[in-house]
């Protein structure tokens, strides 16, 4: 395997997809909606709580991700399938995994940009009072990892169908399941709670968001992410079965 060629291909696809987000309204709608929702709930509670902390924001963003991320990822592969361009793409001299990586990274970058813009909220708070930077760094890092897993799920959903709406719904359902796992622990049989909790995205996120970056949490996110991308590649190769 030629890694240099693979990197070049990933970067080509990444740039094409990112440009396509910004050429269409998708990127702007996502960023504006994201900032508006986060900003509204964040500031409306800020003065009530009267604490210089981003904790509320870090609780809110995972909920916003549930809707926004499947919307970002839904067209990535389903549109190629629908329009037939997938045939162009897969007959070019590149590995299927390069395609998946490139598209994944573009969506991740878009979410990254949206998160970067929320630094404005951080700056306003930092100006207002003393802020503990540990949880902030952890929170952003955790959000990025969480977004990665959600995007991985979304890309996988998008590879399963040629219909964007279906891709959105599948993506949303699975993201929602991972989000809900640690919130339904009381209904889970006793012996399984620790497993279910360990599978939950929010559990690992809240660990990291406390400002303690534990390798177990990071490994959880990365392996889940790798798994979804692997499944997506398999799903792309389904045409060969």
């Amino acid at each position: 395997m030629n890694y240099k060629a693979s990197l070049a291909n990933i970067s080509t696809i990444f740039r094409k997809e990112l440009r396509s987000y910004f050429n269409s309204a998708v990127a702007y709608v996502v960023i504006v909606v994201f900032l508006a929702i986060v900003g509204w709930f964040h500031t409306s509670n800020l003065f009530l709580a009267n604490v210089a902390s981003l904790r509320l924001m870090f609780e809110l963003i995972p909920v916003v991700f549930l809707f926004v991320i499947p919307a970002i990822t839904m067209r990535l592969l389903s549109e190629e399938k629908k329009s037939g361009t997938i045939e162009l793409l897969t007959t070019k001299p590149l590995h299927d995994i390069d395609i998946v990586f490139g598209k994944f990274l573009a969506a991740w970058a878009l979410v990254g940009i949206a998160l970067l813009l929320t630094l404005v909220y951080y700056l306003t708070i930092a100006a207002l009072g003393d802020i503990d930077n540990g949880p902030v760094v952890g929170g952003y890092f955790g959000l990025l990892l969480m977004a990665g897993v959600y995007i991985g799920i979304g890309v996988l959903a998008s590879s399963l169908t040629d219909n964007q709406v279906v891709a959105f719904i599948i993506g949303f359902v699975f993201v929602f399941i991972f989000f809900m796992l640690d919130k339904v622990l009381m209904y889970v049989p006793e012996g399984l709670t620790s497993i279910v909790e360990f599978l939950s995205v929010d559990y690992h996120f809240s660990n990291i968001a406390r400002g303690v970056i534990d390798s177990r949490d990071v490994i959880y996110f990365l392996s889940l992410l790798g798994f979804t991308l692997y499944l997506t590649t398999l799903s792309l190769e389904r045409r060969k079965w």
Binding site: A8, I13, K16, S20, S83, L88, T90, P93
Partner: protein, 314 residues
């Protein structure tokens, strides 16, 4: 850059799309891949371009197998899929740049190569337009430009002229002729005049099987039936049926004669002679000796259309 297709079979579920087909394409040849819709043309092309693997058999492009060296094969091929899918939200230059990069075109040559393709395919006026805004003819050219952006040795074109108007068809055909000179081309179509106009060789496929393989002339030769000759002559006779008809019928190789009609001493006949014979000369001599004036004497050539109908009618 030769292509060897060897015992290719493809099942979709339990349905056999192509059944044990084999053929070669020699370097520099333009091969017309002909067949009714659903015969297996597109399936064969999808296998050659490594979009999907065959159920059995193999394809080698310049000695590289689609199974073991898929990437090498794909590097050598420029592909225009059926229905010419395109990214409608990109403009022409962006799209060609994307295709070129994915084909690993050298960065230093990128611009030059894009400009060359824009020039050759006549895309200059629309280079900064979104592909979604282009007419079908222009889109087809973009598809061709995309397929040739890395200067491939092999071009696989799946129905490159479908949906175009007659003028555009001629343009695209000329383009393929011109570009195909130095390349090995496989071109699928169900338009027969296209094959005659562009291809060196024809493979006709029906129901997943190859039913004919040869140059258009060879096929016409091989699959023609009785020679049909139409004859119109002027003669000073009382009754065409009794004075002319038997004399025509009596010529050697003539199988049947049909009297079409006549007035004022001008009579029309249609003659069928045995396959492979040419009776025009003896007809002429007969006419001279009888003092008929020949107004028309012509032999109908079996068209590729007729060959096609014969081979693909079930």
């Amino acid at each position: 850059m030769s292509i060897t297709v060897c015992n290719l079979t493809k099942f979709y579920g339990t349905e056999k799309a192509i059944d044990d087909i084999s053929f070669d394409v020699k370097t520099g040849e333009i091969l017309g891949f002909l067949g009714p819709n659903g015969a297996g043309k597109t399936t064969t092309m999808k296998i050659i371009t490594c979009y999907m693997p065959p159920s059995a058999g193999t394809v080698e492009v310049d000695g590289y197998s689609i199974h073991e060296h898929s990437l090498e094969v794909r590097k050598k091929i420029g592909y225009l899929p059926e229905l010419n899918p395109l990214y409608t939200d990109m403009n022409v230059v962006e799209y060609l740049d994307y295709a070129a990069r994915l084909h690993g075109v050298d960065k230093a040559k990128l611009k030059q190569q894009i400009n060359a393709m824009i020039e050759v395919c006549g895309l200059k006026e629309v280079r900064h337009k979104d592909i979604g805004e282009l007419s079908k003819g222009y889109r087809q050219r973009v598809g061709l430009a995309q397929a040739m952006i890395h200067d491939p040795d092999v071009l696989i074109l799946d129905e490159p002229t479908s949906g175009l108007d007659p003028n555009q068809i001629v343009e695209i055909r000329n383009l393929i002729r011109q570009l195909g000179r130095a390349k090995t081309v496989i071109l699928s179509t169900h338009i027969l005049s296209e094959v005659q106009a562009t291809c060196d060789r024809v493979v006709i496929i029906n129901d997943g099987k190859i039913v004919a393989d040869g140059t258009p002339e060879q096929l016409q030769q091989e699959f023609r039936g009785a020679e049909a000759i139409s004859l119109e002559l002027k003669a000073n006779v009382q009754n065409a049926m009794t004075d002319i008809f038997p004399k025509l019928k009596g010529l050697s190789h003539v199988e049947s004669v049909e009297y079409i009609g006549g007035m004022d001493g001008v009579y029309k006949f249609s003659i069928l002679a045995t396959k492979g014979s040419d009776i025009r000369e003896s007809l002429f001599r007969q006419a001279v000796s009888e003092q008929w004036v020949l107004l028309e004497l012509s032999r109908k050539v079996t068209s590729l259309e007729e060959v096609f109908h014969k081979l693909t009618k079930n």
